[in-house]
Amino acid sequence: MPFTAGQRILASYLNAQVSMLQKTVLTSTTASVTFSSIPVYTRLVVFWRVRLSASGPQNILLQVDGDTNADYLWNFVDAINGTAGGSHAGLGTSSIIIGTADGNTANYFASGDLSLDGWANTSGYLTASGTWANFSTLTTDAVGAVGGLFVGVGPHSSFLLKPASGSFVAGSQFSLYGYN
């Protein structure tokens, strides 16, 4: 909403369009993180910073509304130590790859952001897009960008993030925002 000079601004005005819905820092090894009972927002944005218990790199996976069927597709480009690569999967996979993380070395984390657009839409499939950076040693790194599609119509209510192998270790963190 537009503001005028001298207008009193209430916190609720600011929160109307953008809200932090949840955030957590893991205190123990966690196999999956599910955000549930998510209010109806046009778009969700999640920021993640993780390290894994499994040797890597491992893919970080997204599933929506508890759907583990082959209702997802994805496409990513990445660069590992500067060498460009990429991969894609047409419809037929059970999750969307949103990035990679490692578990080789203490203190080395991967982080990324992910937008889920069309969360509240009652028509059209949910689109996902994000970027990530993964550091596993002083000389091993990866960056990438991903797009994905969930063949399901909203409004949606939950999503899950998990590594393809292993778990998120303590200290990994997640925060979720809703945008209108």
Partner: protein, 82 residues
């Protein structure tokens, strides 16, 4: 590395609560199996990288030791020498 049984975490955006549910016995067994496979794969990759580095070093030493500069030039063109 796999001593602690992980849990699934559910963050309820309505109530703000966090609920941890430990993996079932079957999930835990599968989890440990996957960890072992990932570990073995990582060791294979490391061994492969080490072998490649040793081979690269050997080739570079041979090129450096060769008296004919043409050999060095050809090796550089082929990406076998700096």
């Amino acid at each position: 590395m796999d001593g602690e049984r992980p849990a699934h975490l559910v963050l309820d955006c309505g109530t703000g609560t966090e609920t941890y549910t430990p993996l079932s016995d079957q999930e835990w067994a599968e989890h440990r199996q996957a960890l072992a496979a990932a570990q073995a794969e990582a060791q294979d990759r490391a061994a492969e990288a080490e072998a490649k580095a040793a081979e690269d070093k050997r080739v570079r030493a041979l090129v450096d030791a060769h008296p004919d500069p043409l050999v060095k030039l050809l090796a550089q063109r082929a990406g076998l020498a700096p």
